[in-house]
Subunit: 414 residues, 2 copies
């Protein structure tokens, strides 16, 4: 049976609404979408109304206007967030909306931008969205990130073919990785979700004290883990008890490291797009949890602005396992988009830890979370370190070693 | 000298910023734009930053999502405007922003919609925007309406040619009517503006007590004028003393009728798009200012919802003179867009009068304005009555007749 292009698009829209945010009848859906993705956003909106949404709003983001503002707007205008914007973000939490974000940045649109101005603007925006941001990382609302092609992004991924072919090829890669090219994507996702469980249980039972990462790229680091940490993967359970998938696709099993016990160097295995700027061939060195050195062959200023963005952006907040032999990695495509690249590779994040990654974390204050070793920040930026030769060894409190990853993949038997 | 398509587009963007809202250095510009007009909105944004804008925001409107919401959203969601939305509209007035609105509705997108739901939603939105609406009609902020083609609109105007040709032809009509196909559009606009002055002075000096309209379409009506009414046309002076052009193009000289002294029938000469619905071949009969009868060959329900929209939507708020032999009428194009069609034809508006159309009106309360004969409403919808055979006669208080329009054009000598 052949599944048409339109059906696959419809599958992705349906999947985001039904499994992604698990939209309930009478609930309102917010869709964050680039203006270039309006047609697909409409499909998501229609799927939401089909499912009984009370209302749907689309918030369009416009990266070309953002670039113009970074280049030309008054700094005060860039860094002053009107009260109504904060009220809007707060209302999303108060009204218990569901949020689907279509993430499809053009990796080149911010090339050469003044990173200090971007940092100032983005810190101001994040501060205004603090309540919303906390609701997201604590699963107080149900949210889902998906991606669909834009011309700018597709041309970056497939620079050597005509743009319409590039867009089509990127759609196909998205259909493949999101299982929306199958006749029953939801069933495939339930099977996929079950496959995470065994590994999550193993890791949660073992409660490793630390992990040692090594590869030929230059990664050589020990990452401590907090007491009572929790590994998760696939679907999550929101505060209201309803399951949802925060990322489509997802291939990762993740937790929070102890932010104070990170020592050594992490060498990136993939480029990173941060605030629209490409950072490539870079590495970060940590001492007692803090970045104490970094370099990048491309995008050094952007990397600097990330590390220096705000308190906590110079420490790790997420540790994540993805086998090198993963469905996304096997496509052999560099997506320049964290949603895909992070799911092709073991990764870490600089910035905020998810409070759900420690027992009782959702009921802890920021002070309590920090005391438990979880990083607090308004930033959360993933970067990829997984390679074909990556080895990861788990250490227990006595220093006994358990192989976790061998040659880039899960050790067998785990 | 040939002027390229791109230059004409640039001319329109520049004209809207420089003459339309007369953007001042350090001022913020809000652009209201259909999502399909993002590329042109970016040109306007760039023109604004070139002129020293402190900031530019684009508010995208999405008529396909609006249609879905009218069809499927909960009525409560449609009619409950969040507090932050009201705060946003209020902030435009408080912050003294300039507003350029790109008006390019698809005339067919709302075909068959439930007009009662549209009316309910639109009344709620207008109530939340009351302060903004009052600022606009009192020239407390500088605003400008322009139009650029969308595929949906262009196909309606030119249904018999391929869509890319339709879009191009509509662009050309817009360049022609906005004088942006000239080498110095600003100079042409200053000359154009001067041409209004003589007629405005004549009408303001005469202070006619009423006008009698007649034509073969069935128009036969007497429209009383309030004491100390003011005729205006072309540029206006905002509260801050800075001149601006609220409409590009504009060919009209307008004032406010006495809302209680309108008796007879007005037969529409052009179709009208209201809330996305087409109303055609319609007429309205008034007694002592109020609509006491109406019919429409197409869009009767939409006409009904307009007349019944809210207090004041069943009375006249604007009277406007445009010769039949006008540059827009001479193009022979039915635009299905009020910005063009109203400037091709004598017209009236149901709903709010502009307080600027009476001496001291900007400092009057709503009660004082109403006592002076000016209509108060949250609606303002123009409809066209000008025809090739239209005659308009001015009456003074003693009933002496002065021909104003003969055979659709200004009587000569006026």
């Amino acid at each position: 049976m052949t599944i048409s292009f339109e059906t696959k698009q419809q599958n992705l829209a349906d999947l985001a609404v039904a499994l992604g945010v698990n939209l309930q009848e009478g609930q309102t859906l917010i869709i964050n979408a680039p203006i270039d993705c309006a047609d697909f956003a409409h499909k998501v909106a229609a799927a939401a109304f089909d499912r009984g949404a009370a209302d749907v709003a689309i918030r369009y983001n416009d990266e070309r206007l953002s670039r113009m503002r970074y280049d030309h707007a008054d700094l005060e205008a860039l860094t002053t967030i009107p009260a109504w914007q904060k009220a809007r973000m707060d209302s999303y939490v108060d009204d218990q909306v569901a949020v689907i974000s279509i993430y499809a940045d053009d990796p080149d649109v911010m090339a050469g931008v003044d990173v200090d101005r971007v940092k100032a603007a983005s810190n101001a925006a994040q501060a205004a969205a603090k309540k919303y941001h906390e609701a997201v990382i604590n699963d107080r609302i149900r949210w889902c990130v998906i991606s669909v092609p834009t011309v700018g992004w597709a041309r970056k991924v497939f620079p050597d073919i005509p743009k319409s072919a590039a867009v089509e090829q990127l759609w196909n890669a998205i259909f493949e990785t999101t299982r929306t090219n199958l006749t029953d994507p939801a069933a495939a996702w339930h099977r996929h979700n079950a496959s995470f469980e065994e590994k999550v249980r193993f890791l949660n039972n073992k409660q490793f004290d630390a992990f040692v990462y090594k590869n030929a790229l230059g990664t050589n680091i020990t990452v401590g883990m907090p007491k009572n940490h929790i590994w998760a993967g696939g679907s999550e359970i929101a505060e209201d008890g309803i399951a949802f998938f925060p990322n489509i696709p997802t291939e990762e099993i993740f937790s929070a490291p102890d932010k104070t016990r990170v020592n050594g160097t992490l060498a990136a295995s993939h480029p990173l797009v941060y605030n629209g700027q490409l950072i490539d061939h870079f590495a970060l060195t940590f001492k007692d949890g803090k970045v104490v050195g970094y370099h990048a062959e491309q995008g050094f200023d952007a990397l600097k602005s990330l590390v220096e963005a705000n308190p906590g952006s110079n420490m790790l907040g997420e540790i994540s396992f993805v086998p090198y032999d993963s469905p996304i990695q096997n496509l052999g495509i560099l997506f320049y988009n964290t949603l895909f690249d992070e799911n092709a590779s073991c990764h870490f994040a600089l910035g905020a830890a998810y409070p759900t990654c420690i027992e009782g974390g959702q009921n802890m204050s920021e002070t309590e979370l920090a005391a438990a070793g979880l990083n607090i920040s308004t930033t959360h930026v993933d970067f990829m370190v997984g390679s074909k030769d990556l080895s990861i060894v788990g250490l227990d409190a006595e220093g006994n070693e358990t192989p976790i990853f061998v040659d880039g993949n899960w050790a067998n038997p785990l």
